[in-house]
């Protein structure tokens, strides 16, 4: 990873963290409705993986946080308008913040049912193969979602047809209130790759460089026609499942312990040691993020609600 890529990933991590903090404030103040599943603690892997994509690749993000959209370059004000259910977003109030969509950047949208993403990703991979391109698909999902039957069917179908899909599991230890060790028979979800004769790799999801390298390798394999890969990025969900989650199902000690591995200070320290990031750059990047968010919030607040009868539009093309 070169210096500018490291800084790009770092900037996106900061922008994502600040944006979620701001969204939490807006929701708690009752200024916007809607559900937001925060990704605080998981930004490193999300930003690093997406940095490995080409502009013409396809992305199926998961429901955890804003970093996917930030890293892919979707304008913040559009994300906020979707959150608020206003005009000016990407889905005209139809899908909320969980269905941010951006065809120009290959962002196909989101499945409201967990695991609904896998067959869609498989189909995007199929399209690439039929048309003969060298694009690839990156499909994020959580540890809990790896227990859907669609995971098995899609991994197998991608493997037998050698489809260019990279499956990236964010194992954050919890599916709402269900810890991974109680929901999932294997310790490493990456082990399941063996069942489909595809590479399965565990990486530290809080280390952007490990994630980036693994995704680059998997994308290379996908582009060269060798088929899918499974990457498991171990991480932790530092906030609740949604903004407002009483989070009563895990011990404060456990959460505190993981805050000490928050990927943002860890990456800052590393970049500082390498001489990539100075204190003044750090403040600048933070101030820049806050200013961008202010502008986006202001834009969102000026947008009208959709026309009520537009609820009847967009069913059919």
């Amino acid at each position: 990873m070169d210096r500018s890529l490291k800084l790009q990933i770092y900037r996106n991590m900061i922008l994502s963290r600040r944006l979620e903090e701001r969204i939490a404030e807006l929701i708690k103040a009752g200024q916007v409705g809607g559900f937001m599943h925060p990704g605080v603690g998981q930004e490193a892997l999300q930003c690093a993986a997406i940095a490995a994509l080409r502009r013409d690749d396809y992305l199926l993000y998961a429901h955890r946080g804003v970093a996917y959209w930030v890293a892919r370059g979707i304008p913040l004000e559009k994300v906020l308008c979707d959150l608020a259910g206003r005009e000016g977003g990407t889905n005209r109030g139809k899908g909320g913040v969980m269905r941010v969509v951006y065809p120009e950047l290959g962002v196909l949208g989101e499945s409201g049912t967990l695991g609904g993403c896998f067959p869609i990703a498989t189909g995007a991979g199929l399209s690439i193969k039929v048309k003969g391109g060298d694009q690839a698909v990156l499909c994020f999902f959580g540890d809990g979602t790896s227990n859907r039957g669609t995971f098995h069917e899609s991994m197998n179908l991608c493997a037998v047809r050698k489809l260019p899909v990279v499956f990236l599991c964010e194992n954050n230890g919890w599916a709402v209130s269900m810890p991974t060790e109680r929901s999932t028979a294997v310790r490493d979800i990456a082990d399941r790759a063996k069942g489909y004769a595809v590479p399965g790799k565990v990486v530290d999801g809080n280390d952007p460089e490990q994630v980036y390298d693994a995704v680059v390798e998997a994308l290379k394999r996908a582009r060269s026609g060798e088929g899918p890969s499974l990457i498991e990025a171990k991480t932790y969900r530092l906030w609740g499942h949604w903004i407002g989650d009483p989070d009563s199902y895990r011990s404060r000690e456990e959460v505190e312990k993981h805050w000490r591995h928050d990927p943002i200070p860890a990456f800052e320290e590393k970049l500082a040691k390498e001489g990539v990031l100075t204190d003044s750059m750090r403040s600048e990047i933070d101030a820049e993020a806050r200013a961008k968010i202010d502008r986006a919030v202001e834009f969102m607040q000026k947008q009208p609600s959709p026309r009520p009868d537009s609820a009847l539009e967009d069913v059919f093309a």
């Binding site: 396809y58 977003g89 990407t90 889905n91 005209r92 109030g93 139809k94 899908g95 269905r99 969509v101 951006y102 065809p103 196909l108 949208g109 499945s111 409201g112 049912t113 609904g116 896998f118 067959p119 869609i120 990703a121 498989t122 189909g123 995007a124 991979g125 199929l126 399209s127 690439i128 193969k129 039929v130 048309k131 039957g149 669609t150 069917e153 899609s154 197998n156 179908l157 037998v160 047809r161 539009e313 967009d314 069913v315 059919f316 093309a317």
Partner: protein
Amino acid sequence: MRTITYAQGIKEALVEEMRRDPTVILYGEDVANFGGIFRITSGLKEEFGENRVFDTPISENAFVGAGVGAALTGLRPVVELQFADFLFTTGDEIVLKAGMWRYGHGGAYKIPLVVRCPSGAAGVGPEHGQCPEAFFMHTPGLKIVSPSNPADAKGLLKAAIRDDNPVLYFEHKLLYAAKGEISDDPDYLVPLGKAAIAREGDALTLVAISAMVPKALAVADRLAKEGHHIEVIDPRSLCPFDRPAIVESVKKTGKIVVAEESYRTLGVGAEIGAMLMEEALEYLDRPLRRVAIPDVPIPTATVLEQFVIPNEEKIYQACRELLA
């Protein structure tokens, strides 16, 4: 004009559309090497290659959902389910993905997907013999067609493949061998959402769907001999549904029977009845009659199956009752 079978109509539609448009692909269980369990797709892999015509594992969720993903990204997939009943194994992909992905994402994408669904009771029991169209009429975002003859089988499938929306294409297993005349026009299309008057008359409106249409025409012949000239309407598409065609007919006849191979409760006939209550009650001089499957699963043994499936006699009796 030529005479072809319903199965040939389906195959010709597939071949013509695949020749016409390289983004049309076809896949499903046993469709490529074997040519499909109903042998509709034999020879297609040889003509179009394994990249466009291929077999899938037994993974309906993955391959139907992949049809949606492929449609979002520029292909026009035709996915074959071995039996219409298997739609239930892939409910998320059909209802929530094919039906609602476009809407949920504010119209950002089109979903030009066709799912072929062999339907109908044929001695194959409760999980291979249903006509489940009505289930999917209840969900927004899906177009639904059920052709009853070779010309419609071909014209509706070609129109479905060219449509930018997901279409469930129900092909009745007992109609595969049915023969009929068809035009040689390579662009012979039957528009989705347009009913056909299969036989004109003014004594009674008999709405019949899919394999009920030939039975309804036989009933019409029998009634004609008795001096009653009934009108037979074949909706062909169940979504969009050609409501005016039925309302207009009822204005003329004042009586209506609906014959369908679905379950009675909330079947197609129930929807037609509700629609007529709203739009044409004053024209009805007798109550609506439904000939449908009583609310039981479809049994396998022929004697049991034939007891529950609407046949000519049951349709005839329902008509006679209203004509009395």
